[in-house]
């Protein structure tokens, strides 16, 4: 279950999100560049404070500005994929994925599902854009998050990889039934993938 009510004034621009669903869904936050879409994700993840917010995830309130509840980033259990993935360059793929998770069947399944088993001992610098994204996804899923945030997940990929990647996100959603919020400026991505589009104007 996911409930997000968030309001924030940024550069004279009122940013607003209202999400209230009992079933997991894929949401797209759509709007032009520079309007504050990433800021919204940062606020959901707890990296930044918002003017008013109420966020409830699987029954836990993780943020409520009225009650002065503000759960720490580390305790929110939200998987966040930055646009540039931010893999840890001093660790190989497997070490990246097991950074906060012990080796387990869950991890093995992720490696297999995301088709990165053969990359286990590679270092991030050697990976292609698509591979790096799959590794980052596996790493985000390794801790079994309650919500996944994707910042412009497809914008830096070539067309073929983009189609694959969108397919993969859909697949992950179906497999794991975790709500996903992604940010995009593309109409196509939003309508093709999301169950619900949140327009920021």
């Amino acid at each position: 279950m996911l409930k997000i009510h968030l309001n924030h004034l940024l550069k004279n621009q009122q940013l607003k999100i209202h999400i209230e669903d009992s079933e997991p869904k894929i949401y797209a936050i759509k709007g032009p560049s520079g309007i504050g879409k990433t800021t919204l994700l940062n606020m959901i993840a707890g990296l930044r404070k918002s003017n008013t917010a109420f966020i409830q995830l699987n029954g836990h309130v993780i943020c409520d500005t009225q009650q002065a509840i503000d759960v720490k980033i580390q305790k929110r259990n939200i998987g966040y994929l930055f646009q540039d993935y931010q893999l840890f360059p001093n660790m190989n793929v497997y070490q990246n994925i097991t950074f906060m998770a012990k080796p387990s069947q869950h991890i093995d399944r992720l490696l297999q599902q995301l088709n990165i088993e053969h990359l286990k001992t590679q270092y991030p610098l050697r990976l292609s854009g698509g591979e790096a994204q799959r590794v980052a996804l596996a790493r985000a899923l390794s801790t079994r998050p309650d919500l996944i945030l994707l910042d412009e997940p497809f914008s830096s990929l070539d067309d073929a990889t983009k189609a694959e990647s969108m397919q993969l996100v859909k697949h992950i959603f179906e497999q794991w039934q975790i709500p996903i919020i992604f940010v995009t400026h593309s109409n196509y991505e939003a309508t093709a993938l999301a169950h619900e589009v949140i327009n920021i104007k």
Binding site: A45, G46, L47, I73, Q74, K75, R76, N77, I78, G79, Y80, F82, D84, Q86, F88, P89, N90, M91, F99, M100, Y123, P124, L125, R139, A140, S142, T143
Partner: protein, 223 residues
């Protein structure tokens, strides 16, 4: 055969000083790299001061602070049983003070250069600040830390002004190589001074070469 004592004294002073500076540099950088408040800024300015001040000024201040008449000096002399003025301890303290800013600047810059988003990724995964420091910030700053160590070591080996003021030139006790060279030339023994000059140059080249080799990062290779 020339007496090697000045060489060993120099090496001893520089090694002890570099070890102290390395630990202090990493600890204080860890404490300060995330802070941008007024107190942190003042503290940073004080740390960096010896880079700007003439070594004789630092030496003068140290001499006042550590003179047996002062509280600090008395504490070192009577309680720690480790007099500072005109001793090897004084030479080490002088080296630490003048080389610390180099170590600090390299280390803290290294820590600050790491992408915040990477650290935030680790935070969203639930990693503690300690884990983030020891698994990410510290290993990813290996290169700046090594450069800092190299620079502080070189600075400690070359330290002259502050050392002369605090530790003086006492043969077989505080005559580090730069002091030895100065006093040999002053006494007209240029031939003997030459040897130490060559030793220092060779030493500097070896140290820089070694650290450059150590400095190669596996994960930074780009093809």
């Amino acid at each position: 055969m020339q007496d090697m004592t000045p060489f060993w004294i120099s090496l001893k002073v520089a090694l002890i000083s570099t070890i102290i500076v390395t630990f202090m540099g990493i600890l204080i950088s860890k404490w300060l790299y995330k802070r941008h408040g007024i107190i942190a800024r003042i503290l940073e300015s004080v740390i960096v001061l010896p880079i700007v001040l003439p070594p004789t000024v630092m030496g003068f201040i140290l001499l006042i602070v550590f003179s047996p008449q002062s509280y600090v000096g008395a504490f070192f002399k009577d309680i720690l049983n480790m007099p500072v003025v005109f001793t090897l301890t004084g030479a080490v303290i002088a080296s630490v003070i003048v080389s610390f800013p180099l170590m600090y600047q390299h280390t803290v810059q290294g820590f600050r250069n790491i992408d915040h988003k990477m650290l935030n990724t680790a935070r969203t995964m639930g990693a503690s600040e300690n884990k983030i420091f020891f698994k990410l910030i510290f290993p990813l700053s290996k290169r700046p830390i090594l450069s800092g160590i190299m620079m502080s070591f070189a600075r400690a080996i070359g330290e002259f002004g502050a050392t002369l003021m605090v530790a003086g030139y006492i043969p077989n006790k505080t005559n580090t190589l730069p002091l030895e060279i100065y006093f040999l030339v002053e006494q007209g023994k240029e031939n003997q001074a030459w040897l130490w000059v060559i030793v220092l140059v060779a030493f500097a080249i070896t140290v820089i070469g070694t650290i450059n080799i150590l400095n190669k990062d596996r994960f930074r290779e780009v093809d």
